[in-house]
């Protein structure tokens, strides 16, 4: 492992073979890097000595674009394209920040709609994360099962706002469309349909002997390292830290629902290994279902556009607001100079921060394990590079 001299390797006739470290390039077009991530590996045979991530291949100048907008509302479609598999949560995070700046209180119905959409999106995003994670370690079937169920969530989104991937749905002060009348029964039906499927995923993948061998005791992230690297979301909870912004820094109406924060317990290996991070996502889907069902029962009537401001011109100043996306803490830091367009927008994206800990937890493992580790971080390069 790192720092110790490699043992001398000999041929069958007893001659010593000269060994040396090698630099190996993985990506940017590698199927297991989930996008355009380049990892520069320093390897000693199959053992990883160091990993140097190179990012920026998908940099689309999000922050520069925000400064060029003519009003605050125009930023939201760009937020969609940051974490393009959890667009609802991105829009919501930006809207929360702008609303705090303007001092807007959104109507009850809007809060409920946002919670329902946010949690449905969390399930959809976790389904992609878990399905592609199975693919990374060689299981093809769960991927198809999970994408089948994700389609049903996308149908619900399409029914509401017409889009299946990039919604531009959550606006500052409201949402773009009210729920159609058939949404609530269809969403209830989805919850009833989806809950037993989680058991099916567990049978297919979670407790599969090969899957456990590939992920348990791999990429162990101790809790103190996770906190010092500011990891968040399932990455942090997988390490056994009970920290969820929906509970610990509550926003919107999450304090009204009865649900639990799952954490990694090291059931098949050590606390904070890849299997724990995977399992936290599975259990979070169940908790999201709990929240959705409660919200569907209590959603009040009302006007979803009543608090949408006609003209957005916050006072000069700055504000940082964070919320819990499927990948962790998404924060927006907005500076206003008192005009109608943002002066500076900084997105603190969870995958960017979570990725920075990968070198720390990959040293000493095999190259094949790195695929499992990167998959368990669940990065979306759109959000890493912005």
């Amino acid at each position: 492992m790192n720092g110790t001299a490699a043992p001398t390797i000999r041929t069958s006739t007893g001659r010593a073979i000269r060994t040396e470290e090698m630099v190996l390039n993985m990506g940017p077009q590698h199927p297991s890097t989930h996008g355009v991530l380049r990892l520069e590996l320093v390897v000693d045979g199959e053992i990883i000595v160091d990993v140097i991530p190179h990012i920026g291949y998908l940099h689309r100048c999000f922050e520069k674009h925000c400064e060029a907008m003519t009003n605050y509302q125009q930023v939201i479609p760009y937020c969609d394209r940051m974490d393009y598999i959890a667009s609802m949560n991105m829009d919501w995070a930006y809207a929360l920040t702008a609303e705090k700046m303007l001092g807007i209180r959104v109507p009850e119905r809007v809060e409920y709609i946002r919670v329902i959409m946010g949690e449905l999106q969390r399930i959809a995003s976790h389904l992609i994360a878990l399905g592609t994670y199975g693919l990374d370690v060689g299981a093809f079937t769960p991927f198809l099962f999970m994408f089948r169920d994700r389609e049903m969530i996308l149908d619900l989104f399409e029914m509401t706002c017409g889009a299946r991937l990039l919604y531009n749905y959550i606006w500052i002060g409201g949402v773009s469309h009210d729920l159609p009348p058939e949404f609530v029964p269809r969403a209830r039906e989805f919850c009833r349909y989806f809950r037993p499927n989680i058991k099916e995923f567990n049978d297919l993948l979670t407790y599969n002997e090969i899957f456990i061998k590939r992920t348990a005791n791999v990429g162990i992230l101790p809790a103190d390292v996770a906190i010092s690297y500011a990891c968040s979301g399932p990455m942090l909870r997988g390490s056994g830290v009970k920290w969820d912004l929906r509970k610990n820094d509550p926003y919107s109406i999450y304090d009204r629902f009865d649900w639990d924060v799952p954490v990694g317990k090291g059931e098949y290996g050590t606390v904070g290994d890849c299997w724990d991070r995977y399992m936290v996502r599975i259990r979070e889907m169940e908790q999201s279902l709990n929240i959705i069902e409660q919200a569907l029962d209590r959603i009040p009537e009302g006007d979803v556009m009543s608090a949408v401001p006609k003209r957005i011109r916050p006072a000069a100043g700055d504000v940082y607001v964070r919320s819990e996306s499927p990948r962790g803490e998404i924060g927006f830091y907005i500076v206003s100079d008192g005009t109608g367009s943002p002066y500076r927008v900084k997105a603190r994206s969870p995958a960017f921060v979570n990725l920075s800990v990968v070198p720390e937890i990959s040293r000493g493992y095999m190259i094949a394990d790195l695929v499992a580790i990167v998959g368990s971080v669940d990065i979306v390069l759109g959000e890493v590079d912005r």
């Binding site: 924060g331 830091y333 960017f352 800990v357």
Partner: protein, 159 residues
């Protein structure tokens, strides 16, 4: 702890190095500190038992215009459950501030991003490379006086 208690603690510990404590007329109250003292103050923020800021949420560079850049540190304490915004102003002609990446390793990438986008120099940074843009990119594009170059590596911009 409330913001008043935290800022009071900082003023007691560092006196004149805390340049400004702003609570009136802002959404998020903040403390502004002298850039040379950032590392010392950050260390105290993390290690003082009643402060315990163990979690650096975000580190942002800002161009305030008027030849003034800034670094903004958003801190949170998981152990104590409080938050703090710390700012420091840097002259655009010589924007230098000590790194905090040895205190919170997460700052490593944030500081590389602030260097990349604003040209803020984080002294003693272990890996002071650009992070999002190519190594040979001219200038720091989030500065307000940045002009998009007409050519980049012989290619016309916009293409």
């Amino acid at each position: 702890m409330t913001f008043q208690e935290i800022s009071g603690r900082l003023q007691a510990l560092f006196g004149d190095s805390v340049l400004e404590v702003k609570t009136e007329g802002v959404v998020d109250p903040y403390v502004k500190v002298a850039p040379a003292k950032v590392h010392e103050i950050a260390l105290a923020l993390r290690d003082e038992p009643d402060l315990r800021f163990d979690y650096l949420m975000c580190l942002s560079g800002v161009d305030h215009g008027r030849e003034l850049l800034g670094a903004v540190y958003h801190l949170s304490s998981m152990a104590r459950g409080h938050k703090l915004t710390m700012k420091t102003d840097l002259p655009a002609s010589d924007p230098r501030v000590p790194t905090v990446s040895d205190i919170w390793p997460t700052a490593n990438w944030h500081e590389r991003e602030a260097w990349d986008m604003f040209g803020i120099v984080f002294m003693n940074h272990p890996d002071p490379r650009r992070i999002l843009l190519p190594e040979d990119y001219p200038g720091h594009p989030l500065r307000k006086d940045f002009k998009v170059p007409e050519f980049y590596n012989g290619m016309k911009v916009p293409y």
